[in-house]
């Protein structure tokens, strides 16, 4: 069976891995020292399970980050959206997403549309025997499904933050279903499904473009159709609406930081050989370095620019650092990884006020963090990976960007015309918790006027 991993293996790693594997296979004395085929299969699957639950936990991270950065009167709604979108992703990806994303070589439109579309995801049989597994050289189908589903859900989580505090619950969830069942998996198939972007040589190790920029583009389209929160931009001035609970936002950021080891590390897609586990290890170390770089740069810059360090920017900075390294967490050295992440920090500090200039109201800063830093991260791949070229990287960014933005914009516009995506101004004033859900997030704490 066609190998899910082939399109995603970091070329450098892949080569030496393969070469070495070959060598080792012949070299009889060394042979007994090799991990047996089943062991490789098991260890690869363990990587997916471990990385998968770490990425799953990122849903909690996004939820806490957003719950902390919205105002108290919209917090219950933000929590509800995050719980619901994570659940909906599980449905959408199961129904058509998974097979739309991984054609396994069979295309109905070569390199563009999976031949397995539409079809639900099917796991290997219970107690499957080694000779009956889908791909003994890779990992269990269910562990791969579990891991990939979490990426799909993460994409949806990105959108909810930007559109917070003014979008209606159900229209948002409808978009989420379309995003997780169709938009995300389709464009992901072009790269990770072995489609035309992969053929082109576009490189995106763990998804700066395929995951993060896609979430960012969908969020941007939504923000434009939806408009800014009432009173956010008043006679030419920006009116900040501070988040109600910064400890929650910080907790969310730490959880995302943790989950990212699974996000990037798991994207090695293999852990059963010496070189694979060494690569996964490099990725863990680099991922941490990039996050540190992003948060420190944001800390220093805000101190210099505003003469006061801005925690919310530091949180965004750490995440931007993580997004920046996601396209290539393997090849950079620790120092370079720190710098790549650091640029993410610069992006946040510059882009957040810039978006406000354009009256694009992004409640949690998801567009700078996931879209802009995602583009930067994708462009940075050629800096440390000779298999990547700026031209190809740019085409990949543009193709994915245009597709995702246009389709998302259309979907948002249609939903808006049909049911309307925005709550009434009065409901917005009262807050979505009371107006739409009738449930306060902190019912007992009296709020300052």
């Amino acid at each position: 069976m066609f190998n899910r991993s082939i399109s995603k293996l970091p070329t450098v790693g892949a080569m030496s891995a393969t070469v070495f594997a070959a060598v080792a296979f012949i070299a009889t004395p060394a042979f007994a020292q090799e991990v047996p085929e089943h062991g490789v299969y098991i260890l690869n699957s363990v990587l997916f399970l471990m990385a998968g639950f770490l990425v799953m936990f990122m849903a909690a991270g996004f939820c806490m980050l957003e719950a902390g950065l919205v105002r108290a009167k919209n917090t219950t709604m933000q929590l509800t959206k995050n719980m619901a979108l994570f659940s909906i992703a599980a449905i959408g990806y199961y129904l058509i997403g998974y097979n739309l994303m991984y054609p396994l070589g069979t295309w109905s439109v070569e390199g563009v549309l999976s031949g397995l579309f539409p079809a639900i995801a099917v796991m290997e049989a219970v107690g499957v025997a080694p000779d009956a597994v889908d791909d003994l050289s890779y990992a269990t189908t269910a562990s791969d499904y579990f891991f990939q589903l979490m990426f799909c859900a993460a994409t949806a989580s990105i959108v909810s933050g930007t559109l917070a505090e003014r979008i209606k619950l159900w229209p948002f969830l409808l978009f989420t279903l379309i995003l997780t069942a169709f938009i995300y998996p389709l464009q992901a198939s072009w790269k990770w499904g072995g489609g035309f972007l992969d053929e082109m040589g576009f490189l995106d190790f763990a998804g700066s473009t395929v995951v993060h920029s896609v979430g960012g583009w969908a969020a941007l389209a939504g923000a434009l159709v939806l408009g800014a929160r009432t009173g956010k931009y008043k006679d030419g001035r920006v009116v900040p609406m501070p988040g109600a609970n910064l400890p929650l936002a910080t907790l969310g950021t730490f959880i995302l930081w943790l989950g990212w080891f699974g996000f990037n590390g798991g994207s090695q897609l293999a852990m059963g050989t010496v070189s694979d586990v060494a690569d996964v290890s490099r990725i863990f170390a680099n991922t941490n370095a990039a996050a540190a770089g992003g948060s420190l740069v944001a800390l220093v810059l805000t101190q210099i620019m505003y003469r006061k360090a801005d925690l919310t920017m530091v949180l965004n900075g750490a995440l931007a650092g993580l997004v920046s390294i996601t396209a290539e967490p393997l090849t950079p050295s620790l120092g370079v990884a720190t710098l790549i992440g650091g640029v993410g920090g610069v992006i946040v500090v510059i882009a957040v006020p810039l978006l406000d200039k354009f009256k694009i109201d992004d409640v949690v800063g998801a567009i700078p963090v996931h879209l802009i830093a995602g583009i930067w991260g994708t462009l940075a791949v050629p800096l440390t990976n000779s298999d990547a070229s700026f031209g190809t990287q740019i085409s990949g960014i543009v193709v994915v960007g245009v597709f995702t933005f246009v389709v998302s914009w259309l979907v948002w516009t249609v939903i808006n015309m049909v049911v309307g995506i925005r709550v009434s101004e009065e409901d917005e004033l009262i807050g979505l918790d009371q107006a739409e859900l009738g449930m306060d997030s902190y019912p007992e704490f009296s709020k300052q006027v």
């Binding site: 001035r237 920006v238 009116v239 900040p240 501070p242 620019m305 505003y306 006061k308 801005d310 919310t312 920017m313 500090v349 957040v352 006020p353 406000d356 800063g365 300052q448 006027v449």
Partner: protein, 114 residues
């Protein structure tokens, strides 16, 4: 009238000082609450995510004290000196007439209730 109802708006940081000063002059009861005030001190400007903005209402503490008229002057004086910092935003002390007072527990009325 024989009793006054004194309402003082002071800086939060001054409450303890005021409380101690009042106890010193024999005031046995008072009620406090958090309020947000606006005045000459036009509020302060802050940065949040790169945007500057003004907080119009600043946190203050409100103290309410019912006292015998004879004590009123002294109480106002005491609050003033204990809460004064000379900085803008120090606050105000208002004195209203209090017609009657009742201690729920005992039913005592008038000055005895205070």
């Amino acid at each position: 009238m024989t009793m006054k109802y004194i309402v003082a708006i002071i800086q939060p940081g001054r409450l303890t000082a005021v409380h101690e000063a009042l106890t010193a002059i024999g005031i046995e009861g008072l009620t406090t609450s958090e309020v947000q005030g606006y005045g000459r001190q036009k509020g302060k400007s802050e940065m949040y995510r790169g945007a500057e903005y003004t907080v119009h209402f600043l946190p203050k503490v409100k103290i309410e004290i019912a006292v015998d008229s004879k004590m009123a002057e002294k109480v106002v004086e005491t609050i003033k000196s204990a809460s004064e910092s000379g900085k803008i935003g120090d606050g105000k002390i208002f004195t209203l007439d209090l017609e009657s007072a009742l201690r729920i527990r005992t039913g005592e009325t008038g000055a005895d209730a205070l």
